[in-house]
């Protein structure tokens, strides 16, 4: 059946419900949030319609600058760590037997879907004094006494990398599984070692995919809202944690909304960049 443009009103029928739902419950809430970001905050957690820029002006404070700087730094660190391990891992996974691939994919999907609350709880247990990994170190004779490893920057970073790693692999998987196997075979025939073939042929061929993945994982890590709170100190809070905190505990919706709008703009700019990086590949 050839695709035809809709001719009668009835042809649009299937579109009514999805379009209505998405408009009413995604576009309108989004617009509401933007509107609230310009509202005037009242004492006691309420806000009144207005058009003020106070909420955005607060971005100019040193405190906000620090939070933003730390969020970006943390997300970059997590993205780099995940991609550095994820690229060789996914490359090898894509060349494994179908059975091995499926087993890993099921495991990765299960961990990816695990609630951030549960990931935070699992790592706080692993880093605790009484049930944590330091007990193993003591048993091995590496440490004299078990200790708690949270709250700390290392704990936040580890748990966020844990959360983002399955995502990284699943973003890389389609590109790597479709990669022409003759590429590295040719390099091998010409005498390159597997490692050399990987770094000089596979990685350059995937340059744009890797760049796009870095950006996607970066945005994913920016969205982490609980791990810095559960495993870090207040100075390890990120923009997402701060938005949640302002909206729920400080009841300052206009400020939370302004920060969310800012986060949207940052994310959209980066998605655009990722799409652009992906396009470059096709153009070649």
């Amino acid at each position: 059946m050839r695709r035809e443009p809709p001719q009668r009103l009835g042809d649009y029928g299937p579109l009514f419900f999805p379009a209505g739902m998405l408009t009413l419950f995604f576009v309108v809430p989004f617009a509401t949030m933007i509107a609230v970001s310009f509202f005037q905050r009242q004492q006691g957690g309420f806000y009144t319609p207005a058009f003020v820029l106070d909420n955005y002006a607060r971005f100019l404070s040193l405190f906000f600058g620090k939070v933003l700087g730390f969020s970006l730094f943390l997300a970059v660190a997590v993205a780099i760590a995940c991609v550095v391990v994820g690229v060789p891992f996914t490359y090898l996974l894509a060349r494994s037997s179908r059975k091995t691939q499926i087993a890993w994919l099921v495991a990765l999907l299960s961990i990816l879907s695990l609630s951030e609350v549960m990931i935070g709880f699992a790592w706080s247990t692993l880093f605790s004094r009484t049930a944590g990994i330091t007990n193993l170190f003591v048993w091995l004779g590496l440490m004299s006494q078990a200790q708690a490893l949270t709250p700390s920057f290392g704990a936040v970073m580890t748990a966020m990398a844990y959360q983002a790693f399955p995502y990284t692999v699943l973003v890389l998987y389609p590109a790597l599984v479709r990669l022409d196997p003759t590429l590295s075979e040719a390099a091998r025939t010409l005498g390159a070692s597997p490692a050399k073939a990987f770094f000089t042929v596979v990685v350059p061929a995937l340059r744009n995919t890797i760049l796009a993945t870095l950006i996607m994982v970066f945005i994913f890590a920016l969205g982490s809202y609980l791990l810095p709170q559960l495993l870090g100190r207040p100075q390890h809070w990120t923009l997402s944690v701060l938005i949640t905190d302002q909206a729920i505990y400080q009841s300052n919706m206009p400020f939370a909304a302004a920060m969310a709008v800012f986060l949207v703009l940052v994310s959209l700019a980066l998605v655009g960049l990722a799409v652009y990086a992906g396009r470059q590949k096709e153009a070649k």
Partner: protein, 264 residues
């Protein structure tokens, strides 16, 4: 190469498994202590999920929310994916973009948007608002699997049916639906599992009036530790693994995740 692969797979596997092993360990402690290796053996913390009314209510709330919101996500995604496949309407792609957006942006944004929306309209805290919120938030998953399913349909099949006089409705029921059924099921399964585990959107919409399991764990964490958190985590992990395992058993998981064909 094989040795290198084994080593990398082992290290990654260990990193991914370690926190889960410890959680599984503390979930079988005899007494209410956070100890690993576990002291004694008891499954009572698993029984707690079903016998303690607070945890059981949270479990029922989570399952109800996941089952209904995944259905809603599917009901939004199916006609949209069908329309985009059937008709030539480039401007309608904007709705595809809207459907993918909540999942691409940081979740706190969707959560806050819905919080301001429900607060403004005065429905804040009603349990059905969470169903709609999750349905919109997870519409991406069935939308992506269904778009994949539709693109795999051979159009000449449909054309043959049309030539023989079948109308759109008949074509959809007799040809399209059977062909995309596996994608419908997997799209629903993905949305179901993710909704079960979702915290921030649920918290910002119904967090003050009812508890899903992730909300319950978070609230319980603030008052200290109870091994039931560990047993719930293990339970959820098993549910996810079983569901994704079934999708892999009866469908083509590598293809769903972007591989080209099944004969590999």
């Amino acid at each position: 190469m094989t040795a290198l692969r084994r080593l990398l797979f082992f290290v990654v596997g260990l990193f991914l498994a370690l926190p889960l092993i410890v959680v599984a360990g503390v979930s079988i402690n005899q007494r209410q202590t956070l100890a690993f290796p576990p002291q004694g053996f008891s499954l009572s913390w698993y029984a707690q999920i079903f016998t303690n009314p607070e945890w059981r209510n949270a479990l029922v709330a989570s399952l109800t929310l996941a089952a209904t919101s995944a259905l809603l996500a599917l009901l939004i995604a199916l006609p949209l994916a069908w329309f985009l496949w059937r008709r030539l309407a480039p401007w309608a792609n904007i709705f595809q973009l809207l459907g993918v957006a909540p999942f691409t942006l940081p979740p706190v944004i969707t959560a806050l948007g819905l919080l301001t929306f429900w607060a403004t309209t005065g429905f804040y805290g009603q349990s059905w608002t969470a169903v709609i919120s999750h349905g919109i938030f997870f519409v991406t998953l069935p939308l992506v699997t269904l778009s994949l399913g539709f693109s795999a349909i051979d159009r000449s099949l449909v054309e043959a049916a049309a030539t023989m006089g079948a109308d759109d409705r008949t074509i959809f029921r007799t040809i399209v639906l059977p062909l995309i059924l596996p994608y419908i099921v997997s799209g629903y399964a993905f949305a179901f599992v993710l909704s079960l585990n979702e915290y921030i959107v649920a918290y910002m919409t119904i967090g003050f009036t009812m508890e899903t399991l992730p909300i319950k764990i978070f609230n319980a964490l603030r008052y200290g530790y109870t091994p039931t958190m560990a047993s719930v985590t293990v339970l959820f992990l098993v549910i996810a693994a079983v569901i994704f395992g079934l999708v892999a058993r009866f469908g083509d998981l590598p293809k769903l995740l972007g591989a080209l064909s099944e004969d590999k």
